[in-house]
């Protein structure tokens, strides 16, 4: 693969496909390891493709409609997005502008992570900032207490965020999805209050003097863009895998997914943990960027803003979510005068989008995702 070159907004389509020909390999029990999953057939029994099965090849419907233009478009958008991100410092490299852009990039990563939970799997997480906090605090505390470079804290951050994801997800994912929403809301508060109360996290004033990850804001900005691009690419690829499909099945109809052999509980937990990892790693960038973390950064407002980005952009759509995150994080810079009404507006927008355009600005097209999968062969 082309690595981060595919760009933050790229759904990563891959090379255009040759038409799936009629000479497709014969499916059946000879496929890898069918034994365990196919108790119905003896090893020697004829495969599903018996001679009496009619070979109706309904060619008209087998061929995916033309898609090249759209794929190029998406791909082009991804590359263009990355290019803009890479060139931005040449336009304006004041420390202030760099800081805003770095924050926006981190926010993109958060939105990509929350999109796995909310967009792909349909689970509402209202305390997503908690994972940002867990990541930021874990790496910040370890780095300042034990004088570690931030990079060395990443394994610990991974372990702690995954654990946090399991502790919250394991009991609640068995229940109705709306319980998860409110429990995550409570969890977000618990993490914030705990950070506020403990000595090791520095209490209300937090921890400061967190070491940098790169020399100078420009280098750090590029590092952030690279990491975030990989994260976005990873989220997009997960969405188009066996697991990603299972997430969508769970979102559409849990019973039917379960009957199809998807262990919905495990799959939901996987989505939740993936979201936790993305959030936790974004937390490391967050800590490095601000060089200080305090409980005030992880309020419900923060979680709600990430959710807003996902909804605005289009749940389940990677380019949409990236766009949404950029809009939400840069909007305050544009609308300084409206500061008082900003969040009120967000609330109204959330309602408005759900009522009028639930698919978001740049919707996920189920057809399109499918076609890009086909394009991979």
């Amino acid at each position: 693969m082309k690595g981060p070159g595919a760009g933050p907004a790229s759904p990563e389509p891959g090379p255009a496909s040759p038409e799936p020909g009629p000479a497709s390999p014969e499916p059946g029990p000879a496929s890898p390891e069918p034994g365990a999953a196919r108790p119905g057939a003896d090893p020697g029994s004829p495969g599903p493709d018996r001679a009496d099965a009619p070979k109706v090849r309904l060619r008209g419907t087998r061929r995916p409609p033309t898609r090249t233009s759209r794929l190029l478009q998406n791909r082009w958008a991804g590359a263009a997005g990355l290019l803009v991100a890479l060139l931005a410092p040449f336009v304006n490299a004041t420390p202030y502008a760099l800081s805003i852009m770095t924050s926006a990039a981190i926010f993109v990563m958060l939105a990509a992570g929350l999109n796995i939970v909310v967009g792909y799997c349909g689970l509402l997480d209202l305390g997503y900032a908690a994972f940002l906090a867990v990541g930021a605090y874990t790496s910040g505390v370890l780095a300042t207490r034990f004088d570690l470079p931030l990079l060395a804290t990443v394994p610990a951050v991974l372990v702690v965020t995954v654990l946090a994801g399991i502790v919250i997800g394991a009991p609640t994912l068995r229940l109705r999805s709306d319980y998860l929403a409110i429990v995550t809301l409570g969890f977000g508060e618990i993490i914030r209050i705990t950070a506020n109360n403990l000595d090791v996290t520095g209490g209300p004033s937090g921890i400061y003097g967190i070491p940098h990850l790169a020399d100078g804001p420009v280098a750090f900005y590029y590092l952030t863009v690279a990491v975030v691009s990989l994260a976005v690419l990873g989220a997009a690829r997960l969405g188009r895998s066996r697991l990603g499909r299972a997430w969508r099945f769970v979102r559409e109809d849990e019973d039917a997914a379960e009957a199809t052999g998807v262990n919905t509980y495990r799959v939901k937990l996987a989505a939740y943990i993936a979201g936790a990892i993305w959030g936790g790693l974004a937390g490391v960038l967050f800590a490095a960027h601000l060089s200080a973390v305090s409980p005030a950064s992880f309020t419900f407002l923060q979680s709600a803003l990430v959710l807003m980005a996902v909804v605005l952009g289009g749940m389940g759509s990677v380019p949409g979510v990236v766009l949404g995150a950029i809009v939400i994080s840069l909007l305050p810079e544009v609308l300084r005068d409206l500061a008082d009404y900003r969040f009120f507006l967000f609330g109204v927008l959330l309602i408005g989008f759900m009522l009028l355009r639930p698919q978001g600005l740049w919707p996920a097209r189920s057809k399109e995702a499918l076609r890009s999968e086909e394009a991979l062969r």
Partner: protein, 297 residues
Amino acid sequence: MTQLVWNGLFVGSFYALVALGYSMVYGIIKLLNFAHGDLYMLGAFTGFAVLGAAGGVTSAAALPLLLAVLLATMVITGLAGVVLERVAYRPLRGAPRLSLLITAVGASFALEYGTRAVAGADPRVYPVRLGGTPLEVLGARLTLQQLVLTAVAVVLMIGLNLLVTRTREGRAMRAIALDPRTSALMGVDVNAVISRTFFLGSALAGAAGVMAGAYYGKIDFLMGFLIGLKAFTAAVIGGIGNIPGTMLGGLLLGLLESFGTFWLGGEWRDVFAFGVLILFLTVRPTGLLGERVTERV
């Protein structure tokens, strides 16, 4: 000891009032109304405005006037709840649950920051001071106003329970909770009943808001957030959708918090409450009095 119990019951009666609205709405349309806590906040601010218009309260005429304000506020927040349902929730009935939940979050945001835009970000001081000498009962200090507020809460809850169990309206609500489609076929005006449920639930939350304002003396636009969470916890403890259970859950949560605060310190009170929530969801998600749903693996 008795002090802790009394404090717990007092706070718990607030939780119970707010939790009832949560529980009723959930029971009838299976929606977690995230904006419910904000209706409580709206109640506090409405009461503040009405009191302001009445020119504040002196302790002599305090109680009767406060009750009048309470009633007015209940009507106003009740109507706000109806509007909320009509504008934000009803169009989405039948849409995926996720959309509805997100709308509810949006509504919560709009109410909080709408209030902030109107009333400002700083806390407001309630123009009521209910004085009175504390009484000693069984070693617990309780003030007259606490007694009055608890009494009001109890009266409201009993009234609600009578309404739901004894009247035609209540029967319609219970019918819809069981099966909205069949209820509609049987001639129940489902939309009207849902509207009235929102009215009742929001009115109770509004009442709790005024009472909290009068008791604590300070209100701000984010005051509904935490109590919304607590009310949900209370509803889950008691059994969401179950009215007596929810009341019990509110009181129990109040007691648990009161003792938790005593043992762990006030800064851990909220963590303790959510810990209880998660524990309950793990061990007994249907709550103490919630009926067990048919075992579905």
